[in-house]
Symmetry: C2
Subunit: 510 residues, 2 copies
């Protein structure tokens, strides 16, 4: 090994000293004490809307700021004392808190990313600080075990009998959809894994509707099927998959000799939160012997709410299901579950071994080596947040969170209906609401102008830090969209939202 000689041993000695300083439990204790206070103060401030929701800054300005800070990072030699290091630690944390998106501000009504249960982040931190991972069971025995337990628990809440199904956790809904569709591909086209997509397999298709998440079309691009292999089926006036049209489409595809890898349904779809009629969709898929995948990333959480679980009636009929705990189970990103109704499918996504990793002297452990089932080799202990919240508060907290945020959507919808200058674009089925603000001046405006106004109004609003909401387009015309995914939001905040939009709108029209 070049460069290692005796003249360098004093350098190495100093390097070891610096490392020991950095790894000191006392330094850790000081820093974590500071962190506890900084984060508690942050929650106190943010929950009471005492700062901007989004700390907007032009991205390149922000990147330049980060580059300057990186360039001014201290030298390690000599390292200062623990108090000075804890001080540096605190100042870096403060910048993180002051320059981010404040999801715990009740005026955050944004993407399907929740104001997570604060303690969930702390449970997650146990995994980060001790670096608990999986791939092989032995690297994270407890992380693996609680993942298995939660898979079994949630699978039963979907409606499956113990021992019949299987599941895994991965880093996000897009990867979860990709994992499930890879499994469906490998089941439908058994030679594809080894031989690739060859004729006639290249004519295989995936069926979705227009409101499906983009990750499904991406999956077709990734998996070698091509995005053109995604065939669209119709939605009805409530933006739900139309089972009769699906039946016709599957009949036509069969006549054309095109293999259907999967029908991918939504529970619920992203744009307006519409739940596809799963019992009817499943019945059509059963008749055509087609794999039914249900992207329940957002809506799957209703399995834990007696009030709303009817929305996913029929979910247990799906061959694969995705549920993101980092959406409506209110844990931090990322913690996405993939379920297979038939346990036999659990090793179908990937069909390899890695001899240096998975111990051939203990083959029984393969059942618990997560790396055999997931895109990740090394994987975070991604379920610690969910596990901890479940154990501390009990599962009914998840029902509370679903019930309260869904109710907020009903309240917002009622306000939008009552107001002269707002137009709800659908009746909410969950906690997603899409709408437009139509000030008197724009009542006769052409659609393009009205749509552009919504998008511009949103940008102005979020950059002001007054509220955070997201853009949408209905039939190509811009609209506003919120997800009521901060359970601290209340009726008064909803009134404020309308007022803030009116105010920014009038300033724009002036």
């Amino acid at each position: 090994m070049a460069g290692v000689d005796s003249s360098s041993s004093s350098d190495l000695h100093q390097a070891r000293q610096r490392i020991h300083t950095a790894f000191e439990p006392q330094l850790f204790h000081k820093a974590s004490g500071r962190l506890a206070q900084l984060l508690a103060d942050h929650f106190e401030q943010v929950q009471h809307s005492q700062a901007r929701v989004l700390n907007w800054e032009d991205p390149e300005t922000n990147v330049q700021r980060a580059l300057e800070e990186l360039a001014s990072s201290p030298e390690t030699d000599p390292l200062p004392d623990q108090n000075a290091l804890a001080e540096r630690f605190a100042s870096v944390v403060q910048a993180m808190l002051q320059r981010g998106q404040n999801l715990h501000d009740p005026r955050y009504l944004g993407h399907q990313v929740p104001a997570s249960v604060p303690l969930a982040g702390l449970f997650d931190a146990v995994g980060s600080v001790t670096n608990q991972v999986m791939a092989a069971y032995e690297m994270g025995p407890w992380a693996t075990s609680v993942e298995h337990a939660l898979v079994r628990e949630l699978g039963q809440r979907i409606g499956w009998a113990p021992g019949t199904f299987s599941g895994l956790v991965t880093h996000g809904g897009s990867l979860a959809n990709l994992t499930a569709l890879l499994t469906a591909r490998n089941v439908a086209l058994p030679d594809a894994w080894e031989q690739g997509i060859q004729a006639p397999d290249h004519r295989a298709v995936i069926v979705v509707h227009d409101d499906a998440h983009y990750s499904v079309t991406r999956a077709a691009g990734v998996l070698g099927l091509g995005t053109q292999a995604v065939i669209r089926t119709s939605i009805d006036e409530h933006r739900r998959l139309d089972p009769i049209e699906l039946d016709r489409l599957l009949t036509r595809l069969a006549e054309e000799g095109r293999r259907v890898i999967a029908v991918s349904a939504c529970a619920c779809a992203t744009p307006t939160g519409a739940f596809d009629p799963l019992p009817q969709v499943a019945e059509v898929c059963r008749r055509h012997q087609v794999w039914l995948h249900v992207d329940a990333a957002h809506g799957g959480a209703v399995c834990l709410s007696s009030r709303h679980r009817h929305l996913v009636e029929g979910l247990a009929l799906a061959d694969s299901v995705v549920i993101d705990a980092h959406k409506m189970l209110f844990v931090p990103a990322l913690c996405a579950f993939v379920f297979y109704k038939n346990r036999e499918h659990r090793f179908q996504a990937f069909r390899q071994d890695a001899p240096y990793l998975f111990d051939p002297s203990a083959p029984g452990l393969a059942e618990y080596d997560s790396g055999l089932r997931t895109f990740e080799c090394t994987k975070r202990a991604a379920v610690f947040g969910l596990w901890g919240v479940w154990r501390t508060f009990g599962p009914s907290l998840f029902a509370d969170l679903v019930d309260v945020t869904f109710d907020l959507a009903v309240q917002l919808h009622a306000k939008l209906q009552t107001a002269d200058d707002f137009e709800p674009l659908h009746r909410p089925e969950c906690n997603i609401v899409a709408f437009r603000h139509i000030p008197a001046q724009l009542r006769e405006a052409p659609p393009e102008q009205l749509g552009a106004f919504q998008l511009e109004l949103r940008r102005r609003t979020i950059q002001s830090g007054d509220f955070y909401l997201v853009p949408w387009k209905l039939d190509g015309v811009g609209a506003l969209r919120v997800t009521l995914i901060n359970p601290l939001t209340n009726k008064e905040h909803l009134d404020q939202l309308l007022d803030v939009l009116r105010r920014h709108g009038q300033e724009m029209l002036r």
Copy 2:
């Protein structure tokens, strides 16, 4: 929305009360104070080897324990007071700490997963607790900005000029390799994304050698090329890619009319940490006009060490490079970087838009919307750990960590060479060492028996909690393998390792 009626408003009121309790900043402060103490105590204990390295438990026993604890989770109604909740929190954390793998014990010499810098986990926790994510820039403006800054900084340390290259962060090295190879596929086969893998594209190949990580072969299976499309090139006696053989192979493939999507080289390979000769490999690839991908997941960190950066000479000649910060930059999982030498390739992996997510009213922001470049839609603020350590301790701490752990490997190798009853299987190039224990009784044993002994010895050792190391096979014969990836490990621990293996070995042979 069914089920929402006035009779349920008192239920909702109680649900809101429970949520407010769970989200209380004071409860958070109490819990995080407890966590600070528990983790500091844990480090104190573990760094001094006062517990088992691995808390081994049979997996199904562990899963059943988790299921029982899940079933005994409390009901939320009524929620106890803050002190009782903080107590529950602490007991769940304690179980996590007592049932895991103790990477911070100096006797942890395991997979390429480090005893991470403790403060890195705290910086990561800022992201988890406040749920900072990306996809769209505006969801995580600071998380995105520090990711961009670190991409620019590390890319320059690879050797590229500012503004010429691009990069991203994803959840792990396997996904990073897949992302880079997807890009290479889409560049080599421009119609594949939309049209799928069709003749003659299905004859395209990826070239690797036998010691490449399994994720490369998996990528071929995932991307519709098929695992049979992975063509093996030779390694030399040091387990390094042989450039002359590569040249011959690429010539033959060209004659056969087979398109080469990428040559995937290692810096370093997983089994023994061998670094492929990048300048020569790059020259061969240049001549054949083939994309060179370098999996530098483990070894890329030497870019920050003046002592060892010669090992990745030529890295800047690669078209794509993967570096895992959660390996030799000693931050917790997962934080994997993908780099493209040519900035123009940054949007080649995925070619879609998601109109509800990415704001058409501000198209300039697409450059900062990470979701357009990564498998993840919502993505964690995965660089906060690296950012914080860099800012607190300065970049030379990373050099220290590389230098100290690489030096440990040299020391272990010397001990193995000196000992009569140990056989090193290679000269270490980094901090990975593979070897066998050969007690006197087994000196004449056939290879199968000797190999089985190694694997059984390892299992016995790790289950005892005395040390943690991993299995390997050389030419089909079992071996032992360590990664010196805890910088608190010292010479005395290495002596202990040999003694512990001798002791367990003798117990087995008795």
